[in-house]
């Protein structure tokens, strides 16, 4: 728990500096990154799926972003992107890619491998979608940003 908190702090600070975030937004970004990691960790411990727990974590980021953005007058994007990096499913993406390479090179009859790499690539895209939609959805509750479908 303490280790995860500390790692989330390091990750969100370093990516905020990579994206050149302004100095006064660094503290909120650290807070958001830690919240995201802890929420996802707790939900995974209660046996929710990875997709759903990522969605809830990024929804929490989106909600807090609105608050910080209206307080400090910085666009929502600055907080959302730097802090949602901690949720990216790299290992799944890597496994999907390796599986596809293996299928295409030799093991064409290995059905277990095909199913595995399909599973991992689906999971990767769904988690990516969950991050993006979870961040964007809360901003639609504010009147200023609402968009009407005809």
């Amino acid at each position: 728990m303490i280790q995860a908190t500390f790692l989330a702090l390091l990750i969100s600070v370093s990516f905020a500096i990579l994206f050149n975030a302004p100095k006064r937004s660094l503290l909120p970004i650290i807070f958001l990154g830690i919240v995201a990691v802890l929420v996802r960790k707790q939900m995974l411990e209660y046996n929710f799926s990875l997709e759903f727990s990522t969605f809830v974590a990024s929804f929490a980021i989106g909600l807090f972003c609105i608050f910080f953005s209206s307080k400090q007058n910085i666009p929502i994007l600055v907080y959302a992107i730097s802090s949602s990096i901690v949720l990216v499913p790299t290992i799944n993406a890597y496994k999907a890619m390796i599986g596809l390479i293996q299928i295409s090179t030799h093991q064409i009859m290995d059905q277990e491998l095909i199913v595995h790499s399909l599973h991992y690539s689906l999971k990767t895209w769904l988690v990516f979608g969950a991050i993006a939609i979870g961040i964007v959805l809360p901003t639609q509750f504010i009147g200023k940003y609402r968009f009407k479908i005809l």
């Binding site: 280790q3 666009p75 992107i81 790299t90 964007v136």
Partner: protein, 253 residues
Amino acid sequence: MGNEKGVIDLLSQIGKVLIQYGAETEVVESGIKRSAKKLGFEDVELLVMPNTIMIYLSSHGEIYHNRLQKVQRQDVNFKALDKVESLINTIKADTDITLLLRELENESELGSMYPNSLRSVMAGVGCASFSLLFGGDLYIFAITFIASFIGFTLNGALLKRYFNPFVVIVAVTFTITLVSGFLSFHHESAHIAIASAVLFLVPSVAFINSVNDLIKGHYTNGLVRGIRGVMISFAIAIGISLALNILGVENFI
């Protein structure tokens, strides 16, 4: 009146800078409309494409002035976004437009980055912390730090020479995978090192902006940004798989 030319130059410069530094379409539109309103022009129409802006400004409903502005490049720089937003907030009806325009055109000051050495170290620290989060040990941590430090330095050096960004990404991921693969050859969690060392290239801005634009009704921009994100992901995958074909895929499952 008579200063419509100055106003339209200012508005198109605001839009150009906002698009260039990675703002979503809604932010661009609202920024331009807000500043036009503050300068006393209520009637403004906009067309924001992924790399062009078209502005129509009417003066008292008599003549329409228009201007087409091309955006040269797109990168991520949140400090510049913040500065432009605060400049927009300071605009009043009697602001000196030429002074403001000069301030917006001075891109080297507007988009000032953190020092390059700090950014390289931070890229290493961020990717290495990811490898610990996924269950690596301290050896994997060190390897990931070295690999992504080298990769980020190479990335900056290549982008400075204006190579194609996708070619740069392929070259950088190839180098990172070779370095981390050689250093962690018979380690059981070698795949964690490779997967987390390329993380600073992940196109998170493109994907999140794409969903942002699609949900808010800017379908063309959303689709273009999404395709850009997919192309960057494929470039990363190509770089990794080229290097793994040299090192042997079976060693890194």
